[in-house]
């Protein structure tokens, strides 16, 4: 025997499922442009009859299922793609940061449209040539002096610019480290909330979305990996070190420290292994000594490399010209890019520049000026790994940074493409498709209509039994 109202129950579950389906569709449509939202679906399962709920085994009666049950409402998300997205984001952020700092450095050196060290060096050369033709004339010595001053001032200026960039980026790095700490705190709070809500049996989809967004943000700063625990909490690691260890309920705070001239990001467990992310970009450019690095030091061509190459230029330039001008007659003082300047003696007397080494000095003797010209034109050992003329050295500095910018910019455009391709793949899984949701809308609407029709049919059937059956002869 079939229970009289069984059909109503089945149709009711159908109506409920359709309603929930519409709600979820509505939710998906409403949040289709919400950042970090992953689409949700309902899990519908069949209700099967269960002999234990009956006193006797049911024979031949209602062997059909008993409607639909709404299981959980789950979010569609692929953890593997999340991990790939985050590693791609770390790589991209590192390069973007590097490119932005290097471009700032390039702007100091680039002489394509403006005049810089190369042009002032050439001006100095020209004024020496004029001085050679008019040796002893105070106005030409003065011209040579003011052009030499342009060189020292340009060196000072370059160095100041590099210092400014260094200070700015260091400040930004501090801000970034604080941002990371804030994010870690937020994730920790979210871990607790999710754990609590899961225990209550509540859905945590929205909370998961928020936490995933935090992970995405964190990945732009530093390379992270995540481990999901059974209770819904997540451990966060950078390299082999835990940033959040939810299993042991411990978390770490990042801070910046300067050790032997290099910046480090440390936690309570010591220096953090950072392999990508914008923090890596900052550290590389701020600490990088390029070819000046000793073993164990950062050998990226960073600000320190460019400062050292300027210092080398200043040292060698001052040394050579002071030597040429005669012992105890320095033209330049200082031997770094920040300290080099014209000597007091030369400033007070333009003719302090030695025009001749002849013992009897007469106007027109220019042999020493020619020696200076020849020095500017001949190859010198300017740094440990550079032998060439001064203008070649300036070209080298200019192309060094340009090639770096070019290289990083190429890498960055590749990493950007990788990131956007992974993002697309991830979006393909978790994103809301309006067409799909519209089809769902129709689907659940039709389902609702169909279940309602079933109820009408059952109602009419009962009407026949109750009101029209057995009325013969009445």
């Amino acid at each position: 025997m079939r229970a009289s109202f069984l059909g109503f129950e089945i149709a009711k579950t159908g109506l409920q499922a359709a309603e929930t389906g519409l709600d979820v569709t509505g939710q998906n449509m409403a949040k289709m442009n919400t950042e970090g939202y992953s689409r949700q679906t309902i899990e519908q399962t069949s209700v099967y009859y269960n002999s234990t709920s009956y006193k006797y085994a049911l024979v031949n009666s209602d062997r059909i299922g008993q409607g639909v049950s709404i299981g959980r409402i789950t979010q569609v998300r692929d953890a593997f793609l999340d991990a790939r997205y985050r590693s791609a984001k770390s790589a991209d952020s590192e390069l973007t940061k590097k490119l932005s700092i290097l471009t700032n450095i390039e702007n100091i050196y680039d002489e394509t449209l403006t005049d810089g060290l190369g042009a002032t060096l050439e001006d100095f050369y020209k004024s020496l040539q004029t001085l050679a033709a008019n040796a002893g004339d105070i106005e030409y010595s003065g011209l040579a002096r003011s052009n030499a001053q342009k060189i020292t001032e340009t060196l000072n200026y370059y160095n100041t610019q590099l210092e400014t960039i260094k200070e700015q980026e260091k400040f930004d790095l501090t801000v970034s480290v604080n941002d990371i700490n804030t994010l870690l705190n937020k994730i920790k709070t979210m871990n607790n909330t999710i754990q609590f809500e899961s225990l209550q049996g509540n859905t945590t989809n929205e909370l998961l979305d928020t936490r995933n967004l935090y992970f995405d943000d964190l990945a732009s700063y530093v390379n992270i990996t995540t481990e999901v625990n059974a209770d819904g909490t997540v451990n966060v690691k950078a390299g082999t070190q835990y940033l959040i260890d939810a299993t042991n309920a411990t978390s770490f705070t990042l801070s910046l420290q300067e050790s032997s001239g290099s910046l480090q990001v440390i936690t309570q467990n010591g220096e953090l292994e950072i392999s990508s992310g914008s923090i890596k970009g900052y550290l590389d450019v701020l600490n990088g000594k390029g070819t000046y690095a000793t073993s164990g030091e950062n050998d990226t061509k960073g600000i320190k490399y460019y400062q050292s190459s300027l210092d080398n230029f200043a040292t060698k330039f001052a040394e050579l010209f002071n030597g040429l001008n005669g012992t105890g007659k320095p033209l330049f003082i200082g031997n770094t890019a920040s300290t080099i300047g014209i000597s007091q003696e030369w400033l007070s007397d333009a003719n302090y520049i030695t025009a001749t080494t002849n013992t009897v000095v007469t106007d027109g003797d220019n042999d020493n000026i020619l020696r200076m010209i020849s020095t500017l034109d001949s190859k010198t050992n300017i740094s440990d790994n550079f032998i060439g003329t001064f203008d070649e050295y300036v070209s080298m500095m200019m192309t060094d940074i340009a090639i770096d910018v070019n290289y990083v910019s190429d890498l960055n455009s590749t990493s950007g493409k990788v990131l956007s391709s992974v993002d697309n793949q991830r979006e393909a899984v978790k994103g809301v498709s309006l067409n799909e949701e519209t089809v769902n809308l129709l689907k659940y609407q039709k389902a609702f209509e169909a279940s309602s029709r079933v109820i009408t049919a059952l109602d009419e059937m009962l009407d026949i039994i109750i009101n029209r059956m057995g009325t013969v002869g009445r």
Binding site: M32, G364, S395, A402, E427, A428
Partner: protein
Amino acid sequence: MRLTNSMMSKNYLKNLNSSLENLNEANTRVTAQRKYMKISEDPATALKAMKVRKNLSRIEVYKENLSDAQAIFDQYESTISNINDIATEAVSQVLQGTTGTSNETVRKTVATTLRGYQETILAAANTKYGDDYIFGGESVGNTPFKLNGTGELLYNGQNVNTGTFTDEYRFVDIGVGLTVGTDGEIVPKSAFNVSNSGSTLLGTGVDTNGITNNLYNLLGEIATKLENNDIDDIQLYSDKLEAKADDIRLQYVSIGEKTNFISYFTERLDAERINATTKQNELESMDIEEGIIIFGEQELAYNACLQMGTKILQPSLIDFLR
């Protein structure tokens, strides 16, 4: 792959942006008429262009130096031409004064004329170009020829008859590889000597007959002899004067060699400059037609992208349901 609306709008926005970026780049390049705006856009080309830039600047320097030298030699030429005229005139005057028919009065007149020539030669030898004495040799700041208290001619402080004079050098760099020798001195072949020595011009020392080699002194000695009517060995002196006049003429003619060298070098530098400028254009300048075509292409792409936007972003199934 499953496509979602936000993916499409995100990708669309990215493409639109990059299309606009390309348009901007094409525009900047056409406006600036440059192939690259920063070295990092094309380091290899930029490095070559930097070398060419330096080359061009050096060519200007060398040309400047050559034109300075040319000016000095022009002045030198006109001065020596004067001296040459005087020397020639002096020879004929002396001839006139020493013929048997000429009497004491004529000789005295000739002597006075010769003394006058002496003055003129002295003034010419002390000619200035700008602030520089062109016959000062290495020392251009001081009057090269002076007379001491007893009327003896001094060149840079030394008596021209008894002093010792060496070759004088004052170099300018004309781009033939200026080098400093191991002795710390400029290698003469690596630069251009612009000094004109007054000692070479007028001559120094005395010959085996005890007659001065110096034109000024020679004229003086002849004048003294004529004044004193002491013309027994005058032939020796007039021969010497002729030889001296020949020497001056030779010097006059040989300026041509130097000025030829200067103009040859200037021409060579001009040719180099044309080459370098062409090279610079090739490396740095944008071919304007090409630039405009690229700009046009980018503009078309951007417009197409915008038009597509209205079609891509709007419709979904919703738009087709009643």
